[in-house]
Symmetry: C3
């Protein structure tokens, strides 16, 4: 019985050392790469081209010296800043009832290939979801999938962080594109 007792004490001591050790060192080992929440959405962007003001959901508002605010610039649209207010849907149908709005901007930022930088939010105000998810990151849009950061959230998404994987689900010239967004939250509250 004495040895059983000593084993128990040893057990506690080792455990204590492990805990104390891990709290002092970088917290790498405490973090889980298993998402605490997952969601999939689509959003739809119709860019203003001078003729579609009724349907357009986005517009060019910045351009390089060689561009203008109606037609996307040459050199892979380098320098075009686009503001958007796009409907979010649960499936890939533009005409499905929107469940929220994707609002923010993208800037085409490479001369030799299509690439953009994104800063935007998903804004929800329905019985299903209330609150917002904030995103930022590079979108090398010729890649099949691209990862950007979920940098914060409010309401139902209070303080969340995670990764959003973006896929171009449809692309129709320079008028319409649809993105599929797979959101994996790794910090939930």
């Amino acid at each position: 019985m004495a040895s059983k007792h000593e084993i128990s004490t040893l057990f506690v001591t080792i455990f204590l050392l492990l805990i104390l050790g891990s709290s002092g060192s970088p917290r790498k080992s405490m973090r889980s790469r298993r998402p605490c929440k997952e969601m999939v959405f689509y959003f739809h962007d119709i860019i203003y081209n001078g003729k579609n003001s009724k349907n357009a959901t986005s517009a060019i508002v910045g351009a390089p010296a060689w561009g203008n605010h109606t037609i996307l610039a040459k050199y892979n649209h380098f320098g075009n800043l686009v503001v958007f207010d796009d409907p979010i849907t649960l499936d890939n149908n533009l005409h499905s009832p929107p469940v929220g709005r994707a609002q923010g901007f993208y800037i085409y930022d490479q001369k030799d290939i299509f690439t953009a930088w994104l800063g935007f939010s998903f804004v929800f105000n329905s019985t299903a979801h209330k609150g917002s998810i904030n995103f930022a990151g590079a979108d090398p849009l010729m890649n099949k999938t691209r990862d950007i950061s979920v940098i914060g959230g409010t309401g139902d998404f209070f303080m969340t962080r995670g990764i959003a994987t973006i896929m171009t689900d449809s692309f129709e010239g320079e008028v319409y594109f649809r993105l599929r967004v797979d959101i994996k939250f790794y910090e939930c509250w």
Copy 2:
């Protein structure tokens, strides 16, 4: 005494299982929704309109095809990008001594209602505070209160995260507005 001993061992074992269980699962339960720090500030925006260059603290620098850089565009200013360097005060008086600067941009991003997307910092360099707080998020500015994310901080605000609740404290046509910002930090270091 033997049973007491067994209870002790059982206790340790259950505890171990609890700890191991919680570190493997999403870390939801470890997080506190009690702020670790709270602050309230006001900031003041005077937009350049072609006549007020001395007092203006912000300026239109992006506009849609139907707009210009002196007058905010129709359709609820959709597409206007505004850069600002606004004084931060502790109360709602524009003429109070500024305690810092709110610097960054907002983009009006909805055609049918006033809404903006914000990316900015509070920059402090006084005896009271040194460092910066970085913000991003959607600002549906017709709502009484709006939540955006504190995405990071430096100096006195090293690595902070949280929620900033914005209220329009005053709004004078398209010349001046004042925002009250209630910052709640939930991650302090």
Copy 3:
């Protein structure tokens, strides 16, 4: 032996109380200010001036009413939005093999001194690094060092957060500048 046993039980109880106490209070004490990873990079910005379209890595795409998209505006470039796609190098030589691209934007946002707001990513796609690091924050560029936030990361930099200290390593008129970036990650996964 009985007392030894009681000490063991006491030990466990105190430990339990400590753990339970720390999980309820703000998690300040659990956080380490020791970086879990450190990296140093340089990046190089050559701004388009109407004559250098071959070498330019950035361009003015937003300007105030008193500016244009070829020459940086007066009043310390207040209101100029610049989009960039800059090579990242391991040393301070512009002609060293780039290890990645710095992509995003900066906005000059103060009339009486050079100051900018940055939103950008480091994008890596080599054997050494795959993934991206996302940054945001105020850059009071006349200061010797400036801290901005690492707001997220993907790939090799999955979910990272930290502080990036920026130094202007070289500045040649309004044509070329080189920044040294010391990245300290405090959250690794």
